[in-house]
Symmetry: C2
Subunit: 333 residues, 2 copies
C-alpha cells in the first residue's frame, strides 16, 4: 500500500485502476483515520482548483443577492466552490480583490454589478485582470459592458426603450427620470435609451426632469426629494432600478404624493421582493437566474477574450403603479 495507490483509490486516476480489495482497504482506513484530502495540495499538484471567484457589490441589494444565489446554485451542480467578495463602497479595492483571487488560483472570476466610468479605477482593474488572464484565468462580467472580457449583458437599452413605448401607450407624457449617477454605465444606458425613445415619440424629457442621484434605495429617496423641492411637473416617475423606485415611493408617500393617483412609478429589474410592495410596481424584468447560469457557463468555457459576450433579453412588466391614463385628464403635478 503505497501513497500513490492510496491517491488513486481515493481520487481516481485517468489512466490507472485499483484492485477491489485494496480499494476497500484504503477507503476503510481513510474513514478510520478521518482523512480528508488537502485541497491546497491537490491544487498545487494538479495546477488547478475547483473554485471560482465571485465579486459583487452588495448582498443587501436583492438584485445582487439573487444573482449570487443563482451562481452558487449553478456552481454546486457542477461541483465547484465559490469564493465570494463584496466590494461595498470601496470600489477602489476591486483591483486588489481580483489580485487576491488570482493568488488563490481560482478557475474563473465573475464580476457582477456595475461598471463605473472612472479611468483610474478602470486602469488598475484592467492591470489586475490582465495578469490573471495571462496566467490562464478566465474573467466574465455580468450585467455590464467590459471591453476585453466576455460579458453577459442585460439588454438595458432595449428594455428602457420598450418601457418608454409602454408608458406612452398608457398615456404618460411627462416623465420624471431618476437617472442614477452619470458615470454609472448601467444607469446611463437605461436613462439615455429611455429619454431618447421618449423624444422620438414626441415627448422629450426636459433636463430639469432628469435627476442625478445614487443607484441605491437612498438615491431614489434623495432624487424624489429633489424633485419635490424643485416643484417639478411629471406624470410618471421612472427610476433606473427597483430599489431606487422603492426609495422614491417611500419618499413620495411621506410627502403626500400618492402613487399611482398623483403619478405613475416604474423601476427596473423585477427583484423578487417586489411581490410584497403596494402598489404593484411596473418594472422591466431582468432574468437574474439565467444571467447567473450563463455567466458561469461562459466563465467555464467561453473564449475568454471578450468575443463570447451575449445579451439576455428583458421584458417590461406592467403593474398597478402605472395604470392607463384617461385621455381626458392625465394626472399631473
Amino acid at each position: 500500500m503505497s501513497l500513490a495507490t492510496a491517491s488513486r483509490a481515493i481520487n481516481g486516476s485517468e489512466t490507472r485502476t485499483v484492485g477491489e480489495d485494496l480499494r476497500r482497504r484504503v477507503a476503510e482506513s481513510a474513514r478510520l483515520l478521518g482523512y480528508a484530502p488537502n485541497a491546497n495540495a491537490q491544487a498545487m499538484a494538479r495546477g488547478a482548483t475547483r473554485t471560482i471567484g465571485v465579486v459583487v457589490h452588495d448582498l443587501t441589494d436583492p438584485y445582487f443577492a439573487a444573482i449570487a444565489d443563482g451562481i452558487a446554485t449553478a456552481a454546486t451542480e457542477r461541483k465547484l466552490f465559490l469564493t465570494l467578495a463584496t466590494t461595498g463602497n470601496n470600489l477602489a479595492a476591486l483591483g486588489d480583490v481580483v489580485t487576491s483571487l488570482d493568488s488563490m488560483r481560482v478557475r474563473a472570476i465573475i464580476l457582477v454589478g456595475a461598471r463605473w466610468k472612472d479611468p483610474d479605477l478602470q486602469d488598475a482593474l484592467m492591470a489586475s485582470i490582465d495578469q490573471y488572464v495571462g496566467r490562464g484565468g478566465r474573467v466574465v462580467a455580468l450585467g455590464m459592458d467590459f471591453p476585453g472580457v466576455d460579458c453577459v449583458q442585460v439588454a438595458n437599452e432595449a428594455g428602457a426603450t420598450a418601457l418608454a413605448e409602454e408608458l406612452v401607450a398608457l398615456g404618460y407624457r411627462r416623465p420624471l427620470v431618476l437617472t442614477g449617477p452619470e458615470r454609472h454605465s448601467t444607469a446611463a444606458s437605461r436613462a439615455t435609451a429611455f429619454t431618447h425613445r421618449m423624444k422620438q415619440l414626441g415627448h422629450p424629457v426636459p433636463d430639469a426632469n432628469q435627476i442625478t442621484s445614487d443607484f441605491t434605495r437612498a438615491g431614489g429617496t434623495v432624487g424624489m426629494r429633489l424633485a419635490i423641492e424643485g416643484g417639478l411637473t411629471y406624470d410618471v416617475i421612472v427610476a433606473m432600478n427597483d430599489v431606487m423606485a422603492l426609495g422614491a415611493l417611500n419618499e413620495a408617500t411621506r410627502s403626500g404624493i400618492s402613487i399611482p393617483a398623483d403619478a405613475g412609478l416604474t423601476g427596473f429589474g423585477d427583484i423578487s421582493t417586489l411581490v410584497d410592495v403596494t402598489p404593484g410596481l411596473t418594472t422591466v424584468r431582468v432574468p437574474s437566474g439565467q444571467l447567473a447560469r450563463l455567466g458561469l457557463d461562459l466563465a467555464l468555457s467561453g473564449p475568454g477574450d471578450g468575443t463570447g459576450s451575449i445579451t439576455v433579453g428583458v421584458t417590461p412588466v406592467l403593474r398597478d403603479s402605472t395604470p392607463a391614463l384617461r385621455d381626458s385628464a392625465p394626472a399631473s403635478r
Copy 2:
C-alpha cells in the same frame, strides 16, 4: 537573490528582515514578471489559510443575505476571504459541504440558519464537524442552538414572549399562529414561547389556531390559505418570520381580508425589505449585522468547544399592522 530572500521581501517574516536595496529589487522584479504569490502553496507551507467557510441556506431570503453580507464585510476588514456555500433544499448535503470546506482547510466554518431536528442529518453533520474540529478547525453556528459548537444565538424565546405581551397590551386576544415546521428549531422556539406566554396571560391559543407550514414566504401563503379555508377565528396573525408574514399578507389581501382592519399581523426578524411594505409590519428585530460580526469573532477566537456561546437580544418593533384595538370591539373574523 535566493528564493528565501524573495519570499521574505514579498510576504515578510516574523524573525528576519531584508535589506532595503534587495527589497526594492525584488519588488521591482515581481511587478515586472507579474508575480502573484500562490495562495495554495502558501497554505501548504504555512499550514493555514486565510479563508473562512460560510454555509447559508438561501441567499434569496433577505435575512440570510443580510447576515452573509455582514460576514463578508467583517471578513474583508480582517483581510480574510470567504468561501460560500448554499445548501438550498438539499439539507442532506450539509455534511458533505462541511467536509469540502474541511478539505480546503478553511480557518473556520460559520453555519448560518436553521437547525432541523433530524437525527440522521444531525449525525452525519456532526461526524463531519468532528473530523474538521479534530484537525484544528473551528465551527460556529449562527442563529441556532447546536450542542458542542460555539453559537451566536438569537433570543427567540425572549422575543416571542415580549411580542405576546405587546400584543395583549394592544388588545389582541386570539392569535392565529403560523408556527412553521415542527422540527425547525428556530420556528419551534418562537412558537412555543409565544403560545406559552399567551396562555400565562390568560389567552391560550387553541390548537386549531396553530398552523404548521414551511418557514418560507410560500409557507406563509399556504398557512394563511389553510386558516381561511378552515374558517378560523382570530384577531392577529403571528408568523414565525418576516417572509412568512409577507406571504400571509399577500394571501390575506387576495382573499379580501384587510390588514390590519380585519386582523393584525406580525413577523420576526425585521428584514430590511420591510421598509417598503404596506402596512408597516410589526416584527421582532434581530440585529443581523451584529450577529454576523460576533459570529466571525467567535469563529476566529472563541473556545471552539461550545462553551463560548452568546445570545443577542431582540426587540419587538410595533408598526401599523398591529394598531391598538378599541376595548369595545376587537376586530375578528
